[in-house]
Structures are given as structure tokens and as C-alpha cells.
């Protein structure tokens, strides 16, 4: 563990292979994703940080496979895109206003036309059909990034 800019951060850099592996473990051991129907979350989605895209293939509320640089051979239902800086804010232990949650961040992009936030893409109906499970899965990026506060 080290302290950078006042925040406790995981030594693993955001978006590396090792980071995604830690994240996968965090998601796959999360109690909230096992209850309230969140184990029905079966939609693949991608996370794009700057130019780097990673596909998360979901099965029953768990990450089955992390696929870097998905191709025409892969399928997904929706995704989230943003600058690396926006994602770095998103995963901070105490994230700044508006990049602290996906709907908040998307709203500032889509409705208020601001830069520096995240944007949802893809099938909006599927996003809302899986809203809490998807939102929780993204939120666990913050938990993984900060070692669950350990």
C-alpha cells in the first residue's frame, strides 16, 4: 500500500491485467450481487478507458471472462466510455462530485454536455433492466482499487 495525493491506493495500476484480475475477484465475491435478483445479471458490457477497451462477460452476476480489446467475434449489450482521468476519479476512495456514480456521470455528459465525465452506450432498456447489478459491478472498481479499504 502507498499513499498518493492523500488517497490510499492499490499498488496495482488501474486497467492493468493484474488490476482486472483483482477486480474480477472482488466482483465475484460480492454478497450484494448474489441477492435481490442481481444473480440474474447476464449482460456483457465493456469498459473503455481512453483508447483501451475491456469486455466483461457476465454470467449469473459474476464476471466469467475479462476480454481485453474485444473484436467482431465478441458480443456486448452496453458499455461505459470515458477518459482515463474520469475513470481515475471514479475509482478514488472518495470520488469527486459527478464522477462518483455512473448515472451521475452520464447525466453530466449527456444532458449537460460537459466534458470529463463517463458516458453510457448501447441498449438503454437493458441498462435499466439490470441497473443495480450493473451499477454495483462498476462501483466495485472502487472497492478493488482501494483494496476494500484494507
Amino acid at each position: 500500500m502507498q499513499h498518493i495525493g492523500g488517497d490510499t491506493v492499490n499498488e496495482t495500476e488501474l486497467g492493468t491485467h493484474e488490476w482486472w484480475e483483482t477486480y474480477k475477484e472482488t466482483v465475484n465475491s460480492d454478497p450484494e450481487l448474489e441477492v435481490r435478483g442481481h444473480d440474474k445479471f447476464n449482460e456483457n458490457f465493456y469498459v473503455q478507458m481512453g483508447d483501451e477497451r475491456v469486455l466483461l462477460e457476465m454470467a449469473d452476476g459474476k464476471i466469467d471472462t475479462v476480454v481485453p480489446n474485444p473484436t467482431l467475434n465478441h458480443r456486448w449489450t452496453f458499455g461505459v466510455e470515458g477518459d482515463r482521468e474520469a475513470w481515475e476519479e471514479f475509482v478514488q476512495e472518495t470520488p469527486p462530485p459527478f464522477n462518483h456514480e455512473i448515472i451521475a456521470s452520464h447525466y453530466r455528459t449527456a444532458v449537460r454536455n460537459e466534458d470529463g465525465h463517463l458516458q453510457l452506450t448501447g441498449d438503454n432498456k437493458k441498462i435499466f433492466q439490470n441497473l443495480r447489478a450493473f451499477q454495483r459491478t462498476l462501483e466495485l472498481m472502487r472497492v478493488a482499487h482501494n483494496n476494500g479499504g484494507a
Binding site: 476512495e93 462530485p97 456514480e101 451521475a104 435499466f128 441497473l131 451499477q135 462501483e139 472502487r142
Partner: protein, 321 residues
């Protein structure tokens, strides 16, 4: 605020039903209150699709209820205010408008025979402070608009009332990020739990008022804050109606309008972080009553009111050792 209540302890909140005439229809309205009968009435309006339980920590704050008669109600179709028995309400979609909303609040204040109440509403209730200042400045002593703006577009979303969506959970968690991460997890989750109690279509119907019908961008000069002082109090993490939106509205209204930013809190301040909100709102109430002589600051911080931040999310989620 203590969470350690003893068995047998009874909260001093009382509940009752009052009948109110709203647009020629008699409604049975649920009301909770606490505080001295002759105290200044502080009439509290809940957020879209929610109910008066959001105010439970204001209703039980002794420092507030020593002076104020705190009154929180459920709008018709919300909480325990069941739909009117004289109407075939199931044959139409529930839709809230600015006129219906303002008239409902005044009808409830009239039904309770309140003299010079202070109005305090949040979110759609915060926006309504502008209509009340426009149409009913004589009816209130002062208006407090929490999470208030001239315009709050983009939240009248079809998925919030769609049969292919679990709207019970979605109506709640579409609002999850409206709260600041600094709030205690139990309070954040309780706010979501309250959202999960709304009837079908009511949240979305309220949002018609919130994101479509309410638009004061070109008519802020009609808000009579010089007659009825208006306090616009918005949370730092509120992405729908930001503190900056609040300042813009107050500047546009001019004399009598004051904007204050609450740091480290979001769009549901009274329920997402009750301890911090109660400390903040006491500063505002002191300005309303004149007890506070100096101007309110542009920003209120936890340090200003002697509150320590709760651990942020990931720390809280550290497994117990």
C-alpha cells in the same frame, strides 16, 4: 445522533390524517408532526415518488423541535395518503404539474390551519419554492428550497415506469448517485428503501413536474423573494441541481433570495446524512428567524458545524477482521 435506541423508547412523532380539498377533490392526507403546538410551523415536503419518512430525523431533532412545530406530510398517492375514493384514478397515468403541486401544498397548509409557516421542500419540493414564491408569497413566512433550481431537465425517463423493468429497485437506484459517498451507509440504503415503496408510475409522474413543467429560466423575476424570503440550499454532490444552479437562480431572483452550498452531501440531504443535514439546516433556520445576525456563508462545510465525515465507501466495505 444516536442509533442505540432502547426497547420501549417511544419517539415523540405523532401521525394523523387530515382531509384537504385539492382542485375540488377531497383527499385524505397523512401528516406527521412533532414540536410545540404554538411553535413556528415548519412544513416539510418530500422528494418525487417518496414520502414523509424522509424527514424522520428532522422530526426527532430536539434542538429543532424545541422551537419549531415540524410537520411532514405525504402528498396524495404517496406513502400513506391513499388515492381519493371518489376518483377512477386507475384509468389514467398519474401526472404532477406545477399548478397541482403548489395548490396541494397550500391546501394542506390550509387544512392544518397553519399560520405563517416556513415551507421547506426538497428536490421537486425544492423547485416548488419558486412557484410558491411566485404564486403564494403571502401564505408563507419563508421558503427553503433544498436541491432547488430554475430548471432540472433530463429525469423524466420512460424506464422508470416500464413493465419490462423492475421499477421497484430501479426507481430507487437511479437515484443512488444523487447522494454523496460520505453519508453513513445505513442512511443511504434507507433512502433507497423509501424509494422502493412508491406506487407504480408515481415517481415518473412527479418527474413530469420536476423535469418538464417546472421551468423558471425566463421568469425568475416573478419569484417574490422580497416579500417572502427564499433560501436555496443545494448539496455539493447533487448532479441534477448543483450548488452553481442554486446560485444562478438566487442571483436571477435578486432581493430576498440567498443561495448556500452544503459540502459533502447530495440531493437527499435530510435522509442521506441526517446528522450533517440537521447541523446545516439549523444555520439556515437561524437565518430565517433572525436569530443569526450575520449573513449565511456561501458554503457550509462539516467543519463549520462540527461534524466529522463518515468513512467513505470502500473503507466501510472492508471485511470485519
Amino acid at each position: 445522533m444516536s442509533s442505540a435506541h432502547q426497547p420501549g423508547e417511544v419517539e415523540p412523532i405523532t401521525g394523523k390524517y387530515v382531509y384537504a380539498d385539492i382542485g375540488g377533490v377531497t383527499h385524505r392526507v397523512y401528516v406527521e408532526e412533532n414540536g410545540p403546538e404554538n411553535g413556528t410551523p415548519l412544513l416539510c415536503q418530500h422528494t418525487a415518488g417518496n414520502n414523509c419518512q424522509e424527514w424522520r430525523h428532522v422530526l426527532t431533532d430536539e434542538e429543532i423541535t424545541d422551537e419549531f412545530r415540524v410537520i411532514a406530510y405525504d402528498l396524495p398517492y404517496h406513502g400513506k395518503s391513499v388515492p381519493p375514493t371518489t376518483q377512477e384514478w386507475w384509468t389514467e397515468d398519474y401526472t404532477m404539474t406545477a399548478r397541482k403541486f403548489a395548490d396541494s401544498v397550500v391546501a394542506i397548509a390550509d387544512a392544518l390551519d397553519l399560520e405563517d409557516p416556513i415551507y421547506m421542500g426538497c428536490s421537486m419540493g425544492g423547485n416548488l419554492a419558486l412557484e410558491l414564491g411566485d404564486w403564494y408569497p403571502d401564505r408563507f413566512q419563508a421558503l427553503i428550497g433544498l436541491e432547488c433550481s430554475a430548471y432540472s431537465p433530463g429525469f423524466y425517463i420512460d424506464w422508470l415506469d416500464h413493465p419490462h423493468v423492475n421499477t421497484t429497485e430501479v426507481n430507487a437506484y437511479s437515484c443512488w448517485g444523487l447522494m454523496a459517498p460520505q453519508g453513513p451507509e445505513s442512511a443511504l440504503r434507507e433512502t433507497m428503501y423509501l424509494y422502493e415503496q412508491g406506487a407504480t408510475g408515481v415517481f415518473k409522474g412527479d418527474l413530469y413536474y420536476y423535469s418538464v413543467d417546472h421551468d423558471y429560466r425566463d421568469k425568475l423575476d416573478q419569484v417574490n423573494a422580497d416579500e417572502c424570503p427564499l433560501f436555496i440550499v443545494n448539496g455539493e454532490y447533487d448532479y441534477l441541481t448543483t450548488p452553481e444552479d442554486g446560485r444562478t437562480a438566487a442571483e436571477g431572483i435578486g432581493e430576498g433570495a440567498t443561495a448556500v452550498e452544503m459540502k459533502g452531501i447530495g440531493h437527499f440531504p435530510m435522509s442521506e446524512n441526517p446528522e450533517l443535514f440537521n447541523a446545516y439546516i439549523k444555520e439556515v433556520l437561524a437565518a430565517v428567524t433572525g436569530e443569526r445576525e450575520e449573513d449565511l456563508p456561501d458554503e457550509l462545510t462539516p467543519e463549520d458545524v462540527g461534524i466529522e465525515y463518515h468513512p467513505p465507501g470502500p473503507t466501510r466495505e472492508k471485511p470485519a477482521e
